[in-house]
């Protein structure tokens, strides 16, 4: 390097005098030259004093150093590249002067007084004299601030290009690849070595090759192609969705020399977009096809969107519904007030009950659930789910109503009903239950469990604690009980037999939640059952007895057939005798009034006696002929009266030589019809006659005595009597000691049957040689004297037909009633009226005083009455009156 004088004051003394002018000329020229150099230049002498600087240096330092005074440098402050302050005496110029060497490649920071910092590369160069001694130094300062910044920017750019996720590729205008970053390598799979220099068409699918031409045309025209989405092929053949931005690359003169291409793999973004679209479609589809009603509401309460289910539920079209305010669809003022307040506060709803009005005006019960949608804390809208619960609400209401009805019904039921929960606490009981318990339990009481009976027992009397009863077991084990018998005791000690039916109650999960008990009083049934049992035993005995009797009655039937033919004969005889005796009696009467000799009159008396005897015989024959079985409820038979009528026929049963004697008390009525009594006594007398017949003479005695309500009628003979064997068997059918020619063997059987029919019995007392005495033990009739204790009964007969009126009147008279035909002041006991009623009914009421205190007993008579039935009806009416009037026992 050529030594350049930098300070004329320092350098001049060293110059030869001769050369001084030329030097000075040269120095001036050098100074002008150095001042014109666009680089900062200054010089120092050997001591480091600044001897020269140019204007470029002044601009760099921001100051003017004092020449020959400031040391080393004109800078205000200097720093190392690290930013540490660097003392001026250690600056590169100082080092160069002190060490006598050039400094290259170092850089420092220079700070100007105005604070501007510049990055400077100094080039200090020692100046030596001819002897080589350092006489000073010159320093050129190169400002590298911009250069360094540019270099850093380029490095950053390269790093950015290199580390970009996008493929950044440059190419020539004919499509040849010139650069290929790591993004391109990652996306397309090729290394730079594989592709640089090759055509970009390597990446383009065959069907898109024309795209490249189009892109290059744009580039040549200097146009950018931005965000062009297309498809490229990776090294492994995968087709990639990419977005390409291609820009022209110009040289320093602005000539387009190629293109840079930024390609971004948007396969994932496309997939994400597709997923998003699908998601949106899904969401929309979900919204539209959801079976639950949905709508979106703005913070102000305006419906923003509603799905099909919601519209269908309410019967609106989307136009009717969307855009309207929700208040228009709510039925309840309070509800909508609450909803709007909550909307205002941005609150969610959970199962909020409301009633919405359908387009047709009907109401739907709904539950609303909502969630507020916010964006950055701002209320956007709320999404409401509207669940139609009308059927549930209606079902619940119906259930409630049904429950109430059921409860009302349960209350009225004639059986006890109660319920308990799973713990046994009584939750319900009806009136009948309380009545059967004899007390009212407290409901839901911990201490009153399973049963409210004061005491409960098994039918055998074993005490049954409440927690061991049917209700407790049913609740515990979930089993029903049917017709379980128990005894309930009430607080007053009353015990009832009850039949208990228990059903456990289950919840939807099959757990027992309690039980229902229906019980009823079966005390009467239990008693009846017990009575029935004893009756069954008696019945079995009776059946055995009856079987024996049936066998006997079978035999009696055969007998009665025979007796019936005898009866027909007797009846005919009796009738004919009656017919014959009438003219005899009339003739006798006529003769008795004639003038006759005494002897003839005596004959006439004998004839009359015979006729009277025949008359009695005829009467007796008719009594024998009548069927005693038809005798229902006969009038009492007075023994004396009967004997007067029957003695003739009875006497006829005895053979000649046998005496018949009767000793019967007066006023001795008994409850057996005259024909039956006649037939019984006739047979006994005939039997006695048969016994006496062999001895040709003897006595038969008929006697009677009354003992309280029985009459003992005895037919005794003084015949040979009977052996024990005969005695034991003589009452059996077909047993006879006589030859079959004269005996049916049924006489005594008939007697026994007749007596039994009226509730009597036959006793036989006999022994060999002591005769035989048959005693009939018969029911006595009440003494007739007991009857007229009160005034005669009064009967009204209002029958239009005079003959029937006469018939009724006659019968009433026979029953000792006083008969009137019209209104009377006295109380009428019995009224006999036409049927169908004759005339207007009001007349009857008027006659009868039917609304009076003692309405009469009314009997109707038809147009063709049966005399027997009429008598029975009237008799029955009288009995009814007697019963009604009888004082209570």
């Amino acid at each position: 390097m050529t030594a350049i004088p930098t300070d004329r004051q320092e350098l001049a003394p060293h110059l030869p005098e001769a050369d001084s002018a030329a030097w000075k000329e040269g120095e001036a020229a050098a100074r002008r030259l150095l001042s014109a150099v666009p680089a900062a230049i200054y010089t120092c002498d050997a001591a480091g004093r600044v001897t020269f600087y140019n204007e470029t240096a002044v601009e760099m330092w921001g100051r003017r150093p004092r020449l020959g005074h400031d040391l080393w440098c004109g800078s205000w402050k200097i720093f190392t590249l690290d930013g540490d302050p660097l003392p001026l005496d250690r600056c590169p110029m100082a080092v160069a002067l002190k060490e006598g060497r050039s400094i290259r490649g170092e850089e420092i920071i220079v700070e100007r007084p105005d604070g501007v910092r510049r990055r400077i590369r100094p080039h200090p160069e020692p100046i030596r004299d001819a002897s080589g001694a350092v006489v000073g130094a010159v320093n050129m300062l190169i400002d590298v601030t911009e250069q360094r910044q540019l270099e850093e920017a380029q490095a950053r750019l390269a790093a950015i290009v290199e580390c970009s996720d996008d493929a950044i590729v440059s190419k020539t205008l004919d499509g040849r690849i010139t650069s290929w970053n790591s993004g391109a390598e990652r996306i397309f799979g090729y290394t730079p070595e594989e592709v640089v220099g090759r055509s970009i068409t390597l990446l383009i699918p065959n069907d898109r090759l024309t795209e490249e031409q189009t892109i290059l045309q744009h580039i040549r025209r200097g146009e950018r192609v931005e965000h062009y989405e297309t498809v490229r092929v990776a090294k492994d053949g995968r087709q990639l969705d990419i977005s390409v931005t291609v820009s022209p690359v110009r040289d320093g003169t602005g000539t387009i020399i190629g293109a840079s291409k930024v390609a971004r793999d948007i396969t994932q973004r496309k997939a994400a977009q597709e997923a998003l679209r699908r998601s949106e479609r899904d969401l929309s589809d979900f919204f539209e096809t959801a079976t639950i009603g949905m709508h979106w509401v703005s913070p102000e309460g305006v419906i923003l969107r509603a799905n099909r289910a919601e519209l269908d539920m309410l019967g609106y079209s989307a136009e009717d519904y969307v855009g309207r305010h929700i208040t228009e669809f709510h039925a309840d003022e309070a509800t909508i007030t609450e909803i709007l307040a909550r909307l205002h506060r941005g609150e969610d709803f959970v199962d909020f009950p409301a009633r919405l009005r359908r387009k047709d005006g009907s109401l739907r019960h709904v539950l609303i659930n909502s969630s507020v949608r916010r964006e950055e804390g701002r209320f956007v809208h709320t999404r409401c789910f509207t669940r139609d619960v009308t059927p549930e609400v209606q079902a619940k209401a119906a259930l409630q109503e049904s429950e109430e009805r059921l409860r009302a019904l349960l209350t009225l039921l004639p059986v006890g009903v109660y319920a308990c929960d799973a713990e046994g606490k009584i939750t319900y009981f009806n009136r009948r239950a309380a009545a059967l318990w004899g007390r009212e339990p407290a409901l839901n009481d911990q201490h009153e469990r399973f049963c409210a009976a004061f005491g409960a027992y098994l039918p055998d009397g074993t005490p049954m604690p409440p927690d061991a009863g049917a209700m407790a077991i049913a609740t515990r084990e979930g089993k029903p009980f049917r017709d379980f018998e128990a005894i309930f005791e009430s607080p007053d000690g009353r015990r009832l037999h009850v039949s208990v039916n228990v059903d456990p109650v289950f919840d939807a999960d099959g757990r027992v939640t309690g039980a229902i008990n229906v019980f009823q009083d079966i005390t009467e049934q239990v008693r009846a059952r017990e009575a029935l049992h004893s009756q069954q035993v008696a019945l079995e005995q009776a059946v055995q007895q009856r079987t024996r009797e049936l066998e006997e009655s079978h035999r009696r039937l055969r007998l009665s057939e025979r007796m019936a033919s005898l009866g027909t004969l007797s009846a005919g005889l009796g009738h004919d005798l009656g017919n014959l005796l009438l003219p005899v009696r009339v003739s006798l009467d006529a003769l008795s009034s004639a003038q006759l000799p005494e002897a003839s009159r005596a004959d006439l008396d004998r004839i009359r006696t015979s006729a009277e005897y025949l008359q009695q015989l005829a009467s007796g024959l008719r009594m024998l002929a009548l069927d005693p079985q038809r005798t229902g409820n006969p009038d009492p038979t007075d023994l004396r009266d009967w004997w007067n009528e029957a003695h003739a026929i009875v006497r006829n049963a005895l053979p000649a030589g046998i005496d018949l004697e009767a000793d019967l008390p007066e006023h001795c009525p008994l409850l057996m019809s005259r024909p039956a009594l006649t037939q019984a006594v006739f047979n006994l007398v005939q039997n006695a006659g048969d016994a006496l017949r062999p001895q040709g003479r003897g006595h038969v005695r008929i006697s009677a005595r009354r003992e309280r309500d029985r009459v003992h009628l005895t037919v005794a003979d003084d015949g040979p009597g009977m052996s024990a064997e005969v005695r034991d068997h003589c009452m059996e059918p077909f047993f006879t000691t006589k030859t079959r020619a004269i005996s049916t063997g049924l006489g005594l059987v008939l007697v026994a049957g007749l007596v039994r029919d009226v509730g009597g019995a036959v006793h036989l007392q006999t022994a060999p040689g002591e005769g035989a005495a048959f005693t009939l033990d018969l029911p006595a009739a009440a003494a007739p004297a007991a009857m007229p204790t009160r005034s005669r009964r009064l009967a009204l007969v209002d029958v239009s037909d005079p003959r029937l009126r006469a018939l009724v009147t006659s019968e009433l008279g026979d029953l000792a009633l006083e008969v009137i035909a019209g209104a009377d002041e006295r109380t009428i006991d019995l009224a006999v009226l036409d049927y169908p009623p004759n005339g207007d009914a009001a007349r009857h009421y008027l006659l009868l005083g039917i609304d009076g205190e003692h309405p009469p007993h009314v009997t109707s008579i038809g147009q063709k009455p049966r005399a027997g039935a009429l008598r029975r009806a009237l008799r029955s009416a009288l009995q009814h009156l007697d019963t009604a009037e009888a004082p209570a026992p």
């Binding site: 009656g578 017919n579 009438l582 009339v586 038809r630 006659s810 026979d814 008598r871």
Partner: protein, 142 residues
């Protein structure tokens, strides 16, 4: 024993037994207020005879040859309601009694009763009362 008009009450007797009719004729001729107007052996001409003579009382036997006396009685009741019939018979049976009453009889008297009872019955029927003998009532009650 007179009719409301004060004259004697006429009696016609129907019986196949001439001894009976003769006895009745004897009895009735002796009775005050009654006049025997004759007898018939059966019921064949009864209607004609009653229509012709309008007796107050007919005494009617039941056990006779010829037409059923009770059927004739029914016709008689319809045609000549003013004539009142008393059945006078030895047959005391409930079915006969019922049929006789339905046919229009005003009384049913047994031939076994004493003659006084027959006169009583005739008197009662003439007064508009009904007449049963004791045996008839006993049969009805049996």
């Amino acid at each position: 024993m007179t009719q409301p008009g004060g004259s004697e009450s006429t009696v016609l007797c129907v019986d196949d037994n001439p001894h009976v009719t003769e006895a009745l004729r004897t009895l009735l001729c002796r009775a005050d207020g009654l006049r025997w107007i004759g007898s018939l052996p059966d019921a064949t001409d009864l209607l004609e005879r009653v229509e012709a003579e309008r007796p107050a009382i007919v005494l009617l036997d039941l056990d006779m040859p010829g037409p059923d006396p009770i059927e004739v009685l029914a016709a008689l009741t319809a045609r000549c309601p003013s004539t009142r019939t008393i059945v006078f018979t030895g047959h005391i049976r409930r079915d006969y009694i019922d049929r006789a009453i339905e046919a229009g009889a005003w009384g049913y008297i047994s031939k076994n009763d004493a003659e006084d009872r027959l006169f009583d019955a005739i008197g009662q029927v003439l007064e508009g009362r009904f007449a049963f003998s004791a045996e008839v009532r006993a049969t009805l009650d049996a």
